[in-house]
Subunit: 413 residues, 2 copies
Amino acid sequence: MDIEKANTETVSRMMEARPMLVGVGRARDVIPGMRDNLLMHAGPPVTWDRMSGPMRGAVMGALIFEGKAKDEVEAEALAKSGQIDFEPCHHHQSVGPMAGLISPSMMVYVIENKTHGNKAFSGLNEGYGKVLRMGAYAPEVIARLRWMNDVMGPVLADAITSSGGIDIRALLAEALQMGDEGHNRNKAGSLLYLKALAPHIAKVAKDASTASEILRFLGDNALSVLNPVMAACKSMVDAAHGVEGSTIVTVMARNGTDFGIRVSGLGDRWFTAPAGKVKALYFPGFTEADANPDIGDSTITETAGIGGFAMAAAVAIVTFIGGTPKDAMSATLEMYEITYAEHKYFTIPALDFRGTPTGIDIRKVVEKGIAPRVNTGVAHKDPGVGQVGAGLVRPPMAIFEQALVSYAEKYGY
Amino acid sequence: MDIEKANTETVSRMMEARPMLVGVGRARDVIPGMRDNLLMHAGPPVTWDRMSGPMRGAVMGALIFEGKAKDEVEAEALAKSGQIDFEPCHHHQSVGPMAGLISPSMMVYVIENKTHGNKAFSGLNEGYGKVLRMGAYAPEVIARLRWMNDVMGPVLADAITSSGGIDIRALLAEALQMGDEGHNRNKAGSLLYLKALAPHIAKVAKDASTASEILRFLGDNALSVLNPVMAACKSMVDAAHGVEGSTIVTVMARNGTDFGIRVSGLGDRWFTAPAGKVKALYFPGFTEADANPDIGDSTITETAGIGGFAMAAAVAIVTFIGGTPKDAMSATLEMYEITYAEHKYFTIPALDFRGTPTGIDIRKVVEKGIAPRVNTGVAHKDPGVGQVGAGLVRPPMAIFEQALVSYAEKYGY
């Protein structure tokens, strides 16, 4: 077994993947395995009884959105009845931020990796505060989801088709030159996304006021492009998964209860441990006591070499997640210690255009005792509330140790 | 005379000015002193016989655009006939990038400084390459100007009104957190500008295809916001001009022949010397031999504390204008040596959110022998060609020495 060769192949596939945003479609029509009684969620597998507050809240909201329950009482009863299946987004070529709920009727982005041919999917981003992905399910949350699905979704679908597709790797590369890290900070990327679609939205919308409303919604949301970016990263790491002998991490994901990883050379097995608390800046009126443990599939960005790994490109982010500009530089420098490559396309101006640290190597994580750095949002621990802050977290060391033991067992090292 | 008090007042006015983009109107209707036979140009005063190639080219193009000449031969004859007056934009509360031509029929941005009440004006940005401001006047250049004036201008006017105005200081502050320096790099600012106007453009345009065309034109031009930014800076420095005893520079401007400055405490006198050559990265097919000397009013950005002075916010710019990320950091650090203040609203993440160096002090420039650093585009030296590169330049030291001598004469130091 030539580990170096395997890892070189893994990171090369990850970097050479060229994810294009090619469309928007209904989850039940486009996501393989989606079915009427299935809800997909962030992170590794989890049952209703072990679900965290925000995940439960999002499940309840999704059931109300689907018309399967008229309120939270009915939704909770249905969720625990056993009639609803819960499966990770990651089992269906999909990813979702925070609770990451995808239900059958939801409109989702379709990403196609033009290099390797695989697809990936993610929902539409709702914006900030009281949103389903943070566990909120109030009537205004459901109403916004309906507008997004019924009004914005079809226009985005037509606009993306009219645009001929959007090269998300190129968009991300540019956004990293404009102060984004691609996970918690997607200001520039969301504007580049708006710019790419605006002429098409104006053209395909059924009337001027609909076009105007959608342009405002996308423009006011500095996370508009987060979901296409996450799906793009998912398509990169999926292309890099399954390389025999590789020690590179291809999934990091949290469901609000557990943090799980998968490794390219170790098949579909999840290595999990309890999700940690986030070191965060809290929104006014909230404290750490309100915070749910770490949640969401958005760690797919760090897995693909951006997010917390590209902090040095985005020092202005410290005003949102805490820390100093120097910390931001150190974060990226530290991640070179545990990664296998420097990204060919994602570069950091402040580090003389050095490529971002890419391809987490479980050997290096364990040997050096350095866990990956992750930027993240923080959801309230109770269902129905929403976002309370944003900050920094690291996955539990135990999952990398488990993975390394499993590697040794499988490959005999 | 308390120089420190005078300078404190000057930089305070400069920083507290709050320029709002409030409209678009026809130059002859909105710019004080505009008249039928007047062409306004960049830099200090200059006569036709001393005008550089790109300035002459732009004058000829403007006369064709105005319908006063049918081609370059007629235009040149008219320009040298004495029937056309040439005056600096700066004499009319206006600024223009490169040749900076403003003719009576042109649509211009209207900026209002909400703190001090003064207004400032600039034309609409044409984009890159073969453009009037770089001295080009081919039929497609004139056709583009006509479309901008007749189609885009009125829509921008209505969209800006519908938006309630755009706070350009706030936009710039945000753009500096996104890798812009506000002069040669306005990528983020132009996207923020597009974002602010897009919902209104979709609403006010007469049909979907016009809206789409304008959204594409603004989005494809990473300098869309340069002209509003320049007029915003003009309104800041105009508010700071005329403080008795102040040694702070309130105008730096070039006409392609001379580089001129004005000083807050020294009235309307221009101090001038021959404009220098730019140290530039040239577009494919061009070399330094093609380059005109330094030209344009865009040095108003450095005068107001951004542009070359904010290079540390925009290290990715080195791929466009040359140099290394380290040079970019050094440029800003050096400018602290010759400025009076650190900007209250424009901050640089990579320098721990330190304010940009603001308020060039002629005393410090002369004492330390450090001339201001300027980022700039480079025009071809012949009329009719256009842009050939972008780079770095410094004004001639002699103008600061002249100004200091004049200051000593006036104030008896």
